[in-house]
């Protein structure tokens, strides 16, 4: 299998980048998309060229470190899938594949396809936790949590923090990411005590980091590898209103 990659190359955050074309042959349909890039990088080394920088770690769709725009879509042509889970069988022999980094002002480019997503960590820092020290916990079954509630919390907690929601949003909004985390904790009895403060502070930080506002187009939930629903955003908005009234 042979394809033409057009890949964003950018040396430093402050330098200008451009798409560069690479013809790659010797690929198979069983290869993952990232393995195809690995293959290209090996060819580049042998040609004495610098390799393309891209991110990955677990390569099984859970760590959230990989993520690029492929032919104009976050994580490639399929819904609800990470870049590492994409395989070359999704492309045809002879295809041209355009690969770009996440595009969002709050995710500045570090090099080539690698962006800085530490803005997500800073949102987490503002209250995405339950203030309780190690060693202070009551018996686990002392607080009953109905399956339905626990399942809803789990649905929201499944977020892998890849940033596809932001990258695909026309406003670069982090509403899906932020709301999922808030709702995970706010749903559980353990998280209730800090509910209003959490909502206020995380929302504030989300804006502080420069993420845009949500206009509810639903583009994010299509790309989210965990299929996190935009109803989370509606709930966040409602909680923000509640936090203003009671917080």
């Amino acid at each position: 299998m042979k394809v033409t990659f057009k890949i964003w190359k950018q040396d430093k955050p402050e330098t200008k980048g451009a798409l560069k074309t690479y013809e790659v042959s010797g690929l198979t349909e069983d290869m993952s998309f990232l393995e195809a890039l690995d293959h290209l990088n090996e060819q580049l080394v042998l040609k004495d060229e610098a390799v393309i920088a891209y991110e990955y770690d677990c390569r099984e769709g859970i760590c959230g470190q990989c993520g690029v725009f492929i032919n104009g879509r976050a994580h490639g042509p399929h819904d609800n899938m990470t870049t590492c889970q994409l395989h070359m069988r999704s492309f045809k022999d002879g295809d041209t594949i355009v690969v770009e980094p996440w595009r969002a002002a709050s995710f500045p480019i570090i090099k080539d396809l690698i962006v800085d997503r530490s803005s997500f960590d800073r949102i987490i820092e503002q209250g995405a936790y339950i203030t309780a020290k190690t060693g202070t916990a009551p018996e686990a079954n002392a607080i009953l949590i109905p399956k339905e509630i626990s399942d809803q919390a789990m649905d929201a907690a499944a977020c892998i923090g890849c940033g596809a929601c932001v990258a695909t949003c026309k406003n670069s909004s982090a509403a899906l990411f932020t709301s999922a985390k808030m709702n995970h904790l706010n749903k559980l009895p353990q998280g209730k005590a800090e509910e209003h403060q959490r909502v206020k502070e995380m929302t504030y930080q989300m804006k502080e980091e420069g993420f845009g506002s949500c206009t509810f187009t639903g583009a994010c939930e299509v790309e989210c590898p965990e299929g996190i629903s935009i109803t989370n955003i509606a709930e966040m908005n409602a909680r923000n209103f509640k936090a203003k009234l009671f917080g």
């Binding site: 610098a50 990955y56 677990c58 470190q65 960590d121 009953l144």
Partner: protein, 636 residues
């Protein structure tokens, strides 16, 4: 040096309490003057960093990923064990202790294993408090399921994403302490070497992976929480970045490496499909609760799985191990799969897999229940293979997974270098020669949250009066220069072969000779081959770009340079142990029906290897069993 495991006095049940009663305390005003470096931000690293910070220590935490949340604990799927006995099925701390000790084929320390089981119940309390959405019954109580090697239900889980959910809890708690300015986090920062001053660990040299700059960090104690090293096989279930370099550097600075050859091969990963493959995705062991493993009774059967009638299927685990069946422990299930595949019964395009079938489970419990239990695993399977496993069986194959071996640690989790601790997968402590499923998240968490924060005081109290380490000390400059030289040497080889080429070669040697089954001739041959590969690496590797910049090829190269050396030690260790135990199966030591033959009178010890200028010297920690009698480990 004599190995002192520092096992406390008293009865097994009282040892941990006795230890705590006698351990030193440090007053809060002094704690904040003490600085601790934690390398790694997975369950053990983040748990330790957050807890040490809560106790008042000044903590610096490092990880090579872009965020602490990526650490490979995230990928654990199935669950975490705890002796809560919520299912009223006869579980207890003692039973969990015994299961774990037996699962490890009596090659771990009684006192450590007992502590692991003892602290498991409060750990579940802790995670529930931190907001982990564990699976629950409609009435609101926690649910359990079974895992391999165990006949009670003691595994807690959050869908097939338990590791992720526990890591999110640890990461959140870590960020709580970052906000409180008690922890400083350094992502995209890789430990390159350990700085030892006057025999004590006093700091690390770190490479900033964005700029390539080398930086010095000093501390009163250094904690390694850097995970496993199964990427030495290249193809493994581990994240691509996982590496053994921090361990290896510490080993070269004087920390003993224990049982390096004890490596778990997981029975249920996706099979390799091509040479270019970089990763073998794990399918959780929990699938074996409901899935049945089989191969066709006829060799090289080319029919589709669903066309093979029931009477022509060989459910070989149920046949060989009737009392545990599909829930036989991992080492046994992997070897049994290898036996069938090698005998010509393998399935799939490359005939390197076996079937994991849910047909009966779906008939018995309904599609909805199976979807509820394993939905995300089936989805993941479909994304990767394109196959709908609700309609036809999954194809699975054994893959390198967990490192039971690691730095030798005593009861306090301190290595043989004073002030250097190893926690989680990177130490050798609780799993012996084979780890039971759902004990990995457990051990990482217990070490990080409960053990280390209680044991590190003894050492820190002793250094309180000493001068604080300073990065201007000449030893820092010396080690930094050594690191710089090492990187230059790699960059300057400028040969003709890629790093991945060498990694593939190393992986092949290790997989063929030092994985599921080993023998003397093969291991000796492997050592020779790896020595040659090492020479070839240092004369033929090629890296482009520079070292003063983000350079992913360079990162791969220096990690591989360490893997190559570690590979030699793993084979050396496998060679000296002339018995079969747990995951270490020596072909010369087996019964007629292919079961392991353990030789307790000669090998009831933990091998702990010292390093001296390229030579390894073995020391022995003899294992004493005062409370259980090691028996032949049978799951029949």
């Amino acid at each position: 040096m004599k190995l002192d495991s520092k096992i406390p006095e008293g009865k097994l049940e009282d040892k941990w309490r006795n230890y705590q009663v006698k351990s030193q305390l440090i007053n809060p005003a002094n704690k904040k003057k003490l600085n601790v470096i934690v390398v790694g931000s997975g369950l053990s690293g983040a748990g330790a960093a957050a807890t040490l910070a809560e106790l008042g220590y000044d903590v610096q935490c490092f990880c090579y990923q872009d965020s602490a949340r990526r650490a490979h604990s995230v990928a654990a799927q199935g669950g975490i064990n705890a002796a809560k006995n919520y299912q009223h099925d006869g579980d207890s701390v003692w039973r969990m202790f015994y299961d774990t000790l037996k699962g490890g084929d009596f090659r771990s320390r009684e006192a450590n294993v007992y502590r692991l089981a003892e602290l498991s119940a409060p750990l579940i309390d802790h995670y529930v408090q931190q907001g982990v959405p564990f699976a629950r019954e409609y009435g609101g109580v926690l649910v359990n399921r079974s895992f391999g090697g165990v006949q009670v239900q003691r595994t807690f889980y959050a869908r097939g994403q338990t590791g992720q959910q526990l890591l999110m809890a640890a990461y959140s708690q870590l960020y709580k302490m970052i906000r409180a300015k008690k922890v400083k986090m350094f992502p995209r920062s890789e430990m390159m070497d350990l700085v030892v001053i006057d025999g004590k660990a006093k700091g690390i040299i770190v490479r900033d992976l964005v700029t390539g700059a080398l930086k010095r960090y000093a501390a009163d104690a250094v904690v390694l929480a850097t995970g496993g090293y199964s990427r030495v096989f290249r193809l493994s279930t581990l994240a691509i970045g996982c590496n053994g370099s921090a361990l290896w550097k510490a080993h070269k600075r004087g920390a003993y490496f224990a049982a390096p050859s004890f490596t778990q091969i997981h029975p249920t990963a996706l099979p390799q499909s091509s040479e270019a493959q970089s990763k073998l995705t794990l399918m959780s062991e929990s699938l074996r609760n409901d899935g049945r493993i089989w191969v066709p009774k006829q060799k090289e059967d080319s029919r589709k799985a669903n066309d093979i009638p029931e009477e022509e299927r060989d459910y070989y685990l149920e046949r060989r191990y009737p009392s545990f069946g599909n829930l036989a422990p991992r080492d046994i299930a992997s070897r049994a799969a290898k036996e069938r595949i090698d005998a010509g019964y393998g399935v799939g395009r490359l005939k390197n897999a076996v079937y994991l079938d849910f047909k009966h489970a779906i008939e018995n419990f309904g599609l909805k229940t199976i979807k509820d239990r394993y939905g995300n695993l089936f989805t993941m399977y479909k994304k990767i293979t394109g196959i709908d496993a609700y309609k036809e069986p999954m194809q699975i194959s054994p893959a390198a997974h967990f490192s039971m071996g690691g730095l030798w640690v005593d009861y306090e989790l301190m290595t043989t270098i004073p002030g250097l601790y190893a926690i989680g997968e990177c130490n050798f402590s609780d799993h012996g020669a084979n780890r039971l499923g759902a004990n990995s998240l457990l051990q990482a968490s217990i070490d990080g949250y409960f053990v280390l924060p209680n044991t590190i005081n003894n050492y820190l109290a002793s250094v309180l009066k000493e001068e604080h380490p300073n990065t201007n000390h000449p030893e820092f400059a010396k080690v930094e220069n050594e690191v710089r030289k090492h990187i230059e040497n790699i960059m300057n080889v400028n040969g003709t072969k890629t790093v991945d080429h060498f990694h593939r070669e190393l992986g092949k040697i290790m997989w063929n000779e030092c994985a599921m089954s080993r023998n003397k001739v093969g291991l000796e041959d492997a050592i020779n081959k790896i020595e040659k590969l090492k020479d070839e690496f240092w004369s033929e590797v090629k890296i482009t770009g520079t070292s003063n910049d983000m350079n992913t090829e360079l990162e791969k190269a220096y990690r591989l340079a360490d893997f190559i050396e570690l590979g030699i030690l793993m084979c050396t260790d496998a060679l000296q142990r002339e018995e079969s135990c747990g995951a270490h199966f020596r072909e010369e030591y087996q019964t007629e029906d292919g079961e392991a033959v353990r030789i307790d009178d000669k090998y009831m010890y933990v091998s702990a290897w010292g390093y001296n200028e390229g030579n390894f010297k073995m020391h022995k920690e003899t294992l004493e069993f005062e409370n259980v009698k090691p028996t032949v480990r049978s799951y029949k």
